[in-house]
């Protein structure tokens, strides 16, 4: 190997370069193996060369489960294509397994006849035992029917680094083996190394020897794949034909954070983010904390309740009061959200949903907090509920959340989930004038000022900020008298105010776009969805439509209130099927509101729907 360490081959060997349309790779290894990083590097490179991409990271819940153990396996799935794709792929075509546990955990997901690249060095007695393999799967029938490439990655990597006289400990050298594997994959899928080389240089700018080691590992992996006969063929995936424009890769959490900063700029109001660390929402706090030059105030509170209460306090002064968490955190915040409903202040609550109940599955995705958002508070306590459909859509829905919160003086729930939060896709960058304006009006006229007087169109109350002379008033959680806002226990007034608060939220329906139908307006089956199921549903329906089936889909981004045309849309179909990562929460709401016999298609496994699962379900009703 030594001859090929330093320089990549000068001439491109076009040895059996085969073109493919779409590839799904899953990188899997121990949580200490750097698989998230490897996957992310491969994704960035693929995006930049113009493939469409979609990713699904899969972290273990423990920070560091014992090395080599089954719970310690970390995975990263990437789908890249020359087509317009919407999901990280149903089944990997290629599995990179850095140890026996990674093979064990992921093998069942691999497509029949799929490709496995294994690091044979880790298949020793001890690791096999940790992975509960009675015999070595590389030597028995376990992998029959798959295409297997056995690479002693650990040894090759160490040898290359030793030969280059890298001055690092053996343990540190061993840490570079993920870049060796990445190099192999770069050759196999005909990707340039430049992006990753640059990343290494800047990431380890202060540790030049570490940078050198990783660079050597990457190049050696690449050259090894190129020069040895381990692979007879390599593949290329062309640029995708997607809408023209400028793109960047973005995860849902990044898009959420940037979206709220954008909303703050569009509204001309500073953003205040109150939050308490929680998986999988913490990255939003980290990202927002980096944007202080936009006047963003981030507040890491002592608990979930303080986080939302501080956001409410900030709203009271005219900031964009935002709080973010996951399901268990929302449970703690609900009383305060009721206070914001009662005081009629704008507030946005981000819920990056995860597996529940209780602590549940912190690192896995789920959509089971819809009821919690719509109905989960004491009393008749309506709030607007919206949900982004894709990672990039998180940006636009963040702006939508702020727009509605200010216009209707009400809390707005923003329901993301673990899959959207960590999944990435290309984001076509909008130009600033494409973005909606957010109008914010504050009261300043003391003549006849009444803090709970209603705007005729929106039914919202005037927003009078502390500091405005002559508009001093008191808000609070006790029932308010209509118009004056004074404490009031009169039964008729209470009944009236309950109806009024509901009517105000219902009014938002006049202000949200109609739900669009993907396909014909009438037909046999409508697949209705919300949130992160968008990609799988749309791809499944597209496939069925290509087969000539009478299937359409519609995706809700507004869940309370529903778009005004939803009732009519539902009536156009014989059957409505609703795939959800819960036990049928949207289906229940649809049945209750529209008296439509909707079919709930539930999957609560901490994983997104596969396209084929939805195809099969729909076929039952065709």
């Amino acid at each position: 190997m030594s001859a090929t360490i330093d320089t990549p081959p000068v001439e491109e060997r076009e040895r059996n370069l085969e073109e493919v349309e779409t590839v799904t790779i899953r990188f899997a290894g121990d949580s200490g193996d750097g698989m998230q990083l490897t996957g992310t590097q491969f994704t960035n490179t693929s995006a930049v060369i113009g493939n469409d991409i979609s990713t699904l990271p899969d972290f273990p819940a423990e920070i560091r489960a014992p090395a080599g153990s089954l719970p310690g396996v970390s995975g990263f799935q990437l789908n890249f294509s020359s087509r317009d794709i919407r999901t990280p792929g149903d089944q990997p075509n290629v599995l990179v397994a850095m140890n026996p546990a990674a093979l064990k955990v992921n093998l069942s997901d691999l497509e029949d006849g799929g490709t496995i690249i294994v690091n044979t060095d880790e298949f020793n007695k001890e690791n096999l035992k940790k992975a509960a393999y009675a015999s070595n799967p590389l030597e028995d029938d376990t992998l029959k029917g798959y295409r297997i490439h056995r690479l002693p990655i650990t040894t090759l990597n160490i040898r290359a680094l030793q030969e280059a006289q890298v001055k690092l400990s053996r343990k540190e050298m061993d840490r570079c083996k993920n870049f060796f594997a990445l190099g192999v994959l770069y050759w196999l899928y005909d990707r340039p190394m430049e992006g990753s080389l640059e990343w290494i240089k800047s990431k380890f700018a202060k540790l030049p020897e570490v940078a050198r080691a990783n660079e050597i590992a990457l190049k050696t992996g690449y050259n090894f794949a190129d020069t040895t006969e381990v692979f007879t063929t390599h593949y290329t995936v062309r640029k995708a034909v997607i809408a023209p424009g400028k793109y960047r890769k973005i995860t849902g959490n990044e898009a959420t954070a940037i979206g709220f900063v954008a909303a703050s700029q569009l509204a001309g109001r500073p953003l205040f983010y109150g939050s308490y660390p929680i998986t999988p929402a913490s990255d939003i706090l980290h990202e927002l904390a980096r944007h202080k030059n936009f006047g963003v105030k981030t507040f890491q509170a002592e608990d979930e309740i303080a986080a939302v209460c501080a956001a409410i306090g900030a709203s009271f002064t005219g900031h964009i009061g935002l709080t973010g968490t996951s399901g268990p955190g929302v449970a703690l915040k609900q009383e305060a959200i009721g206070l914001a409903v009662m005081t009629e202040l704008p507030l946005v609550i981000i819920n990056v949903q995860r597996g529940g109940p209780s602590t549940g599955l912190p690192t896995k995705t789920e959509q089971a907090d819809l009821f919690q958002a719509v109905w989960g508070r004491n009393g008749e306590c309506p709030a607007i509920v919206i949900a982004p459909a894709t990672p990039a859509d998180c940006f636009h829905m963040a702006i939508e959340a702020v727009r509605l919160a200010f216009k209707y003086m009400t809390p707005v729930f923003y329901l993301s989930d673990g899959y959207l939060a960590n999944g990435a896709e290309p984001w076509r960058l909008p130009s600033i004038d494409e973005l909606p304006k957010i109008e914010v009006k504050f009261a300043d006229d003391p003549t006849n000022f009444l803090p709970y007087k209603r705007d005729e169109q929106t039914l919202s109350r005037p927003f009078a900020l502390p500091g405005t002379p002559g508009l001093e008033h008191r808000v609070g959680g006790i029932e308010k008298q209509h118009e004056t806002g004074n404490v009031n226990y009169d039964p008729e007034n209470h009944h009236f105010m309950v109806l009024l608060r509901q009517a105000k939220v219902d009014r938002a329906a006049q202000d949200i776009p109609d739900v669009e139908i993907f396909g014909e307006k009438t037909g046999k089956v409508l697949v209705l969805g919300w949130g992160s199921t968008y990609g799988s549903i749309t791809s499944a329906v597209e496939k069925l439509q290509e087969e000539g089936k009478s299937v359409s889909s519609a995706h809700l981004r507004h869940l309370n209130p529903f778009p005004s045309n939803l009732g009519e849309v539902l009536l156009g179909f014989e059957r409505v099927i609703i795939p959800e990562m819960n036990l049928g929460q949207l289906a229940t709401m649809i049945r209750a509101k529209y008296l439509v016999d909707a079919v709930a298609f539930s999957k609560v496994k901490g994983r997104p729907f596969q396209i084929r699962e939805i195809v099969r379900k729909v076929e039952e009703y065709l």
Partner: protein, 385 residues
Amino acid sequence: MSTNGNGMNENKMDDALVDEGAGGGNVSGGGPSPESEPGSVVAGVPAPPPGKLTKADFTSDQEVRWCPGCGDYAILNNVQKVMPELGVPREKVVFVSGIGCSSRFPYYMNTYGFHSIHGRAPAVATGIKSSNPELSVWVITGDGDALSIGGNHFMHAIRRNLDINYILFNNRIYGLTKGQYSPTSEFGKKTKSTPMGVIDYPINPASLAIASEATFVARTIDIDVKHLGAVVNAAAHHKGVSFVEVYQNCNIFNDGAFDSFAERAVRAENVLYLEHGQPMIFGKNRDKAIRMNGTLPEVIQLGSETGLNETDALIHDAHERDPSVAFMLARMEHPNFPQPVGIFRDVQRETYEDLLAQQIETAIAQKGAGSLEKLINSGEMWTVE
């Protein structure tokens, strides 16, 4: 309280009905004294043209609904009286409260007000003050609200040192829910929820505030109105969190809880008025004092019999950064000691809202004011044609 059960006017408490008390009034604890600085400011809030507002300007049109004779009236009355002296325009004042009898307070102040939920007033106030530092923010809370359900926020709001005034009405009972014991109720107390006596040990609010890194901690008594007014005034002038514990009589569910030292007749004898720079002397005849005996405080008798005089007394230093002595003083209790009131601690530290503003300024200086265009167009980008 001298007016207990007299069926006094529910809405307006006549000042004359309140015992002006003995010995109170001087709370020179630090911070600029209001007298010495005409048109003075509450830290950070610009002063309006002086001398315009009166107590009536700070009185809202809402009917006050506390029980007749409740100590809350005296506190409300005095806060309304002190407000014009602070020189803060009414619209810049926000009262925030939680739940409980005392938490109705904001409704009676003709300022901005936020009656929030149980225990959470400090968190709401944190959001208000950090997003608009121009406002003069007051938290009104009770012993249950602040120390039971809101215990967590108490500690954290205080340690962050926002420039807010945090007034805790301590009546050692749950009033609004009609008479259950609170975290400050005495051990063994029989209440509706503890017919055989309380078996958990009470907490001391002032010492807890000191332990939570408060920069200003004071204590006063509802019926000692001059002292109360002066303490509230000093609290308002302290830049940083100002925690004030007010012993407040709940004449319905815990009447006379503080009588043994707070009653006018015994107050001079049983209360120690802490004054910065002054020896800790007390007693009707000012013939007793506090001094250290090893690591513990003790009461000494001054005079020819003992041969001890003023110079033997401990001198109060509210500005001492080390909180140990303040903590010790806050924990002295009648009858073993005189009950200390006044300012235990008054030190300076940068406030949360100032540090936050500085970080924003630094970020802008380093990266330039945020541009939406740049925010969107950043990271690794590529173009599809």
